[in-house]
């Protein structure tokens, strides 16, 4: 960590806030960006990089003259991996700090905690995180990947490669439950069967019994949707009990860089679909990684949510400049044109006007026995089609709701 970063963190620890204002622009009327991310607590390992990515993008944008000549000002709060903090700080940034846009949230529980507040105060928020999908809300833009991008690529690949018996081990909250529902649906559509499912409360770190339940069910592979640092203990414990089954995930490696944190070979044969990780070997990716490391040399890992946050700020810049306003309705008119796209570190991405979700390049990352990453397959331009196909169309109607395969949008 850089010395200024350290000082920033210390200041954050003391006051709970981080305000980066650039003196040169002080006279101008800045565009204020609220940043609510977990910089401490159970999720911090995966999310500190998101704050850094936003700082990097903000610095680049400010150096290049800001947005429409207006400087960008970050109003940052540490949400401490705590849902009630999200609600507190979301009210604060919208009511007191009067920010133009908020980038917020890691866990789906925290997103669903703050989303009603964004709706209530008519705010505008970006959720830059992969999740279980289904949020149809005009106040939100989602830049993270969703199940039709991560699971409808990953699960058929795994079933072809390893077999049709699937076991799901998922975190027991809305993300894990709804993601498991997606896995169930895709396994069934592809003619497979569920060997078993277990949901693990957040914060659980001991897995002996779960490991035995898996061995009893004899699946061909295990879908691990474990969230938070405590649950990551599963891999070490499964490896030491010699479970030796391939694993598939939408959250591991790409978020919590478990392949860097655990001693090889505990993550051997883990397959993850992610839209970005630092190992991606393309010129755009290398350039982004180099810029990131130049500003934050001690960053342990540049994960997919860091890239999502970085590109989200450039997308926001593009939307504001095309709308010539920070007003949400004007910005949504730009989104409705369907051509808000950019060349991101992962490849080309576009925002889908119906759901306000984003298309992605999806990389299948495989962890080797020495924890090196290879990419057996890449799917380009996978669209977030499910919400739009199911009947969510934000250009016509804004239901401000979250849908799932078993609870789709009502038919008109």
């Amino acid at each position: 960590m850089t010395r200024s970063g350290m000082r920033g963190l210390r200041a954050a620890a003391l006051t709970g806030t981080l305000v980066f204002a650039s003196g040169a622009y002080a006279a101008e009327n800045p565009i204020k960006l609220g940043v609510l991310e977990d910089q401490s607590g159970d999720f911090a390992a995966a999310t500190i990089g998101k704050v850094h990515a936003i700082q990097l993008a903000a610095e680049e944008i400010n150096k290049a003259g800001g947005i429409m000549g207006r400087p960008l000002e970050l109003v940052t709060y540490d949400t401490q991996s705590d849902n009630t903090r999200y609600q507190e700080f979301m009210r604060r940034v919208l009511q007191r700090d009067k920010v133009d846009v908020v980038f917020a949230g890691f866990s789906s529980a925290s997103r669903e905690a703050y989303r009603p507040i964004v709706d209530q105060f008519n705010g505008f928020a970006f959720y830059n995180n992969q999740y279980e999908g289904g949020v149809c809300d005009g106040h939100m833009v989602v830049t993270g990947a969703v199940p039709e991008q991560q699971f409808s690529t990953l699960i058929p690949y795994m079933m072809q490669t390893y077999g049709k018996k699937v076991y799901t081990l998922a975190a027991d909250y809305n993300f894990g439950q709804i993601s498991a529902e997606w896995v169930r649906k895709i396994v069934k559509e592809n003619g497979g069967e569920m060997a078993g499912e277990e949901f693990i409360p957040l914060g659980v770190s001991q897995f002996s019994q779960s490991i035995q339940n898996i061995q009893k069910a004899k699946p061909d592979f295990v879908v691990t949707l474990l969230v938070g640092t405590a649950q990551a203990s599963y891999y070490e414990q499964a490896a030491s009990a010699n479970v030796n089954l391939p694993m598939a995930s939408s959250v591991n490696v790409g978020q919590g860089y478990e392949h860097k944190r655990f001693k090889p070979p505990s993550l051997k044969d883990m397959y993850v679909t992610t839209n970005y990780i630092e190992e991606i070997d393309s010129p755009k990716s290398k350039e982004f990684y180099a810029k990131f490391k130049a500003k934050f040399p001690n960053e342990p890992y540049v994960n997919q949510e860091a890239e999502n946050s970085y590109l989200a700020l450039y997308l926001y810049k593009q939307m504001v400049e095309r709308a010539k306003s920070t007003n949400r309705d004007e910005i949504r008119k730009v989104i409705a044109m369907g051509d808000v796209c950019m060349d991101a570190p992962e490849g080309k991405v576009c925002i889908d006007p119906k759901s306000q979700h984003m298309s992605h390049t999806i990389y299948l990352a495989k962890v080797g026995a020495d924890h090196s990453i290879s990419f057996p397959k890449v799917w380009e331009d996978i669209k977030p089609y499910w919400l739009g196909d199911a009947g969510c169309d934000l250009t016509k109607k804004d239901p401000m709701a979250q849908y799932t395969p078993s609870n789709p949008p009502p038919k008109p």
Binding site: S40, G41, A44, D172, V204, S208, Q209, Q215, V243, N298
Partner: protein
Amino acid sequence: MDIATLAFSALYQFGDAFAFLVLSACGLAVIFGMMGVINLAHGEFIMCGAYVTAATVHAGLPLPLGILCGTLASAFVGVLVELLVIRHLYDRPLDTIVATWGLSLIATQGTLILVGSTMAGVGTPFGSFQVGAYSYSIYRIVLFVAALAVLAALYALFNWTRFGVLARATIQVPHMAAALGVDTRLIYSLTFACGAGLAGLAGGLYAPTMTLVPTMGATFIMEAFVTVVIGGADVFLGTAPAGGILAIVKSGMTSWQGQLFGQIGLLIAVIIVVRVLPKGISGFVLRERT
């Protein structure tokens, strides 16, 4: 599947749950159960032990020596905390809750700032073995044996050594012990250090099997308090049977219905035991004796 395999798997799961409960609780049993200090920073002593263990193993020491370093480091931090904070609050038990809670926040956030959000793991030693259709980790057996050894060592320490007698005398009737020439302040310090060291030992032993993050202590603290509360004031007569009962409930419920029901079962068992035996299991056992 034959009976022997099932029996072994049940026994292994019981031993695994027992080891986790006892090892996370025994440090707290000394500090909270015996001394009456409600130590909310217990999880952070465990985290300290785990971090020092991992750091020394990364520096090249073998794991057992690393665990020893972790234990000693936690004990040393325990002495400092006792001298600087706890010593002044022995007659204000409610204030120790606030003080140790503050310490735990400082330790968690301080570790995050100084060491970063994660630390690389050290890997679980010894590999695995096969019984019937299941494979098991050998290190989990080591943890079970370590839990039994810690209980035996604590029993010996507090019943057969001069320090143990002085510690029990000091904690039961401090002014009488002082009148008989016991340096009670030193005894308090050493007893607190012993509890902190045991927490560090738990952290060191679990460090290879877990993800090392500043908040890792939180995953131990619920089990630790639950075990000590239903165990009562005596370390050996309380913690061991409490660990045994809770381990049966937890491993049984978890194998039947999954982790969530394991936790629910644990909490229901605690409510029942606290209702029936308000002084804990050791209170019940000792009253029967007298």
